[in-house]
Structure formats: structure tokens, C-alpha cells
Symmetry: C2
Subunit: 300 residues, 2 copies
Amino acid sequence: MATLICYEHYQQRINDFLITKIDQLTINDTKLLDAMRYGLLIGGKRMRPYLAYITGEAVSANIDDIDAVAGAIECIHAYSLLHDDLPAMDDDDLRRGQPTCHKAFDEATAILAGDALQTLAFDILANHTFTSTHKPNELPIQVRLIQQLVSASGYQGMCGGQGLDLAATNKSISLEALEALHSLKTGALLKASVLMPALCGELVTEDQKHILSEYAQHIGLAYQVQDDILDLISTEEELGKPVGSDVAANKSTYPALLGLQGAQNKAENLLQQALQALARLPYNTQSLADFATFIVKRSH
Amino acid sequence: MATLICYEHYQQRINDFLITKIDQLTINDTKLLDAMRYGLLIGGKRMRPYLAYITGEAVSANIDDIDAVAGAIECIHAYSLLHDDLPAMDDDDLRRGQPTCHKAFDEATAILAGDALQTLAFDILANHTFTSTHKPNELPIQVRLIQQLVSASGYQGMCGGQGLDLAATNKSISLEALEALHSLKTGALLKASVLMPALCGELVTEDQKHILSEYAQHIGLAYQVQDDILDLISTEEELGKPVGSDVAANKSTYPALLGLQGAQNKAENLLQQALQALARLPYNTQSLADFATFIVKRSH
């Protein structure tokens, strides 16, 4: 229960932070700014920010620094949804039970709002005053955070994964190829949600970062496996978007490759591996463990 | 003549730099990488990189640092062209005499390639080892460069200008509104092409930055005025894209608001103001003066 209260608390905190960031932008085109606000603030579970906050807690990072990290990551996530939903991509009309951005506004505005939200992610990191200092011989924290975010979100991360996803549509691909695809498409940004806060915790060792990275890798995949399962067995009301869209789009999924039971076993297996990784860390990782469990047990 | 040789030299230099950056990306989806390469490397006058190099020369910045600055700016410019050409935006089939990226590939790939090129811009800056050191109490050069680039390219810069442009289509707007639009849409990135190299020149004073900014503001507007004039009087062969597209798209232009002669006078006037700004600087600014003249006198 404590974790649940905490989840809502951090949801509110990141929403407040993002509203402030949007409101700080000078108004020169209301429609574009409205579309950015819509894409960033309408609904959203804020899972990545939550993961960033609880990792930040575990490694004793400054919470104001985590605001910037979580805000930047959520801007990248929001821009990717705006673009993924476009007619030329997944052509989705609903997102979180609401019209997608290009439906609520128009296609040109949705493309542009996505572009500007990506820039805003780097804006937030570059213009935040971080409390953590850097050692001589070490790059400043902002530069290391931006390095981490570009590698998670660009061609070698999320965008590359989306490219693989486009290439895999209407094709049957191997389990290995499906994992490679998801570890980029959704896994890379989830991993950044753990590794960027870890950079803000000044006492985190390289070995501990490696373990956190393992944890993130497992929950990233588990998240995708569960997503595929929910697309098959959930209801439209629960999901806030049409069910069966993977099958309709002829996409390879875990249940398609492993069967429903096989996919459920895989999710459980990944959860256990995530928990085992956490057990090797010297911090209080209860929230991270609860989060891993939530990812696999969620129904929407 | 010396300037012309220099232009070609720097064109080659930035192309080599960008090819290296693209080639360094791990290959996990050939089509997406091909589209990024296409968008970034097929043709292009490389005006912004050239402006960055000659500003770097004037302020005695390290040329390897300018590679990174010019490369990042060109990635932003290239991504904006990929997205501006899309059917939902300007719906252009030709760019630099070649099929636009969504024609050569497909719409989804062009959107994604643009996204990944924006990320690559920040990647280049965050991962470059800059020679210039920073004073105590001053943010590291990388952070200041990224701050400059986000402000030039995001909602408060290029993206915001494109938003104003979308809003102004099929509407008649005032000369003042047209200038505000262009100073964001194309002016902001041209200004960054001068101000970012100025940050790399360690002895540039705030006052000199202000003068360089004035110069950039004037040539940015002059560039747009000349662009509007060429769209009216040039041939498709010279431009590498259909002429009269502004009129066809019902866009407000300088010749429409001022008449052809009025627009030509305005371009000449802006050139004189740019040259007057340069005359107040203590460096050798011959190349910058030649560039301003080229902008107004060009025929394509």
C-alpha cells in the first residue's frame, strides 16, 4: 500500500514538473503548444518517471535532479507515442482512451509537436542546475545524462527499435529477433530510467550500475511480454485502446511465438531474474521489486 | 575566388564528418540508416556548416570543435527538411532535384529518420571532446552549446516557426508577422550557426556575440527574402524543386507583401545592415561579408 501511495505521489510530482516546463515556453503558436501539452499531459501511467524516482530513492540521489531526468525521459516517451500513432506508422485513433494527437489536432501539428517534445527533453537536461558535482577527470553530470539519453532514444535505441518494428510488420520473426527489437524499442528507455538516476547517485559503483542495468533489461522485456498478453486477453475498456491490434497489424508477439501459457511463464521468469538482480544490491530496493511485480501482474 | 575554394573545402569537410558519424552507428536496421544517410548526405548546400566554419575561423576557434557544431546543426536542418517535406506538411516530391525521403523510402521511415537525425545532433555534441576549457563559474562548453541548439531548434525556435508557418497557410499575414515567423523558422538555426562557433572562440566578448547575432539576424532574413524572390523568378532546373510552390501553397511571401522590387530592395538593405554589423568587429570578417553577399546575390 505504501508503494501505491508513493506511485500517485510521484505521478503528481512529474505532472507538476512537466506542466511547469510547458508553461515556461513563450507563447508564439498556441496550437502547437496545445498539441505538445496534449501529447505530454493527457493521461499516461508515468511508469518511466516512477521508475526514475524510485531508483533515485534507492541510490540517494537528489530528488530535484530526478525531476529533470524523469521529465526528459517522459518527453522522449511522449514524442515517440505521437509519432508512432500517426497514420503512416501504427495509425491509431485512440491512446489512453482519448483521441490520438493527430486526431485531436491534425497530422502536421502532431509531427511537429513530437519534434518539439524531443527537443524539450534535451532542453530540460541542458538547462537544469544539477546538485551533483563531478570529479576531476569525469565529464559533467549533464553531459553524461545527455549521452545516456541519446543512446537510449536515437538510432541505437528507441528509434532503431521502431525501425526494426516497421521492418518486422507482416513478417514472422524469430524469438531472438523479437527480443532484439523490444530491447531497443521499449527496453532502452526503461533502462535509461534506471541508469540516468544511477548517474545522479554519487556513490553508485560501476558494478552496481551493471546490476541495475540487468534489472532494467529484465523488466523491460517483461513489460513487453505482458503488453502482448494484454493485447490478446484484455478488454478495450481496460486497455483504453482497441485490443487485438497486434494481430490486426500482423505483428509478431510473444503469445504468437510461445503460446499464451508460454508467454505467461516467460514473464514470470523475467520477474524472478529481475528480483534476483535486485537482491545483489546493497540498497533498499523494495520499491524496485514491487515495481517489477506490478509490471508483470498489471491488467492494463 | 579564395572564398569559393574555401566553400568547397568546407563542404567536403562537413560531408566527410557526417559520413563518419553515420558510419559509426551500429547497423541494426539498414533501411532506417539508409534513409538517415539519404536525408543527411544527398545534396545540400551546407550553408549552415559553412557559416559555422567561417565564424570559427574569424574567432580563432578550434576547427575540430567546429566540426561537431556544424555537424549537429546540419543534422537538425536535415531532420527538419525530412519532416517539412512530408505529405501532411509541405507535401514536396522533390528536394535538391532528387526525390524527397518519403518518396525514395516511405512516410514512416522518413518520419523516423528525421527523429533519429534530431537525436544524432545532440549525440554529436554530447560525445565530442571539445578542446576549449571552461572557466570556473561557467558551464562546460558542451552544455552551453546544447542549450544554444535547443533554443534554436525547439518550440522557441525552428519548430515554433514551422508552427507559425502552418498557421499562416491560406491566410494573409502582416509583414511583421512574416518576419517573426521567419526569424524562428530559418533565422534561429542560422543564428546558432554563428553563435555556437562564437562560444568555441574563447576570447569572444558578450558585446561581440551580440554583434554576431545581429549579423546573423540580418542574413537570416535576407536569405528568406531571396528565397521568396527565387521561388517567383527562378526556373525549376535552377532551384532543383518546383517554382511557384509558395503561391501554390497560398503562403504569404515578401514579394507578395512588398512587390518584387520592394522585396529586392529589402534584401539589399538587410545585406548592408549585415555588413555594417561586421565592420564593428575586431576580426577578419571578409568571409562572413562575402557570405552575406552570396546569400542575397545567389540564383538558386
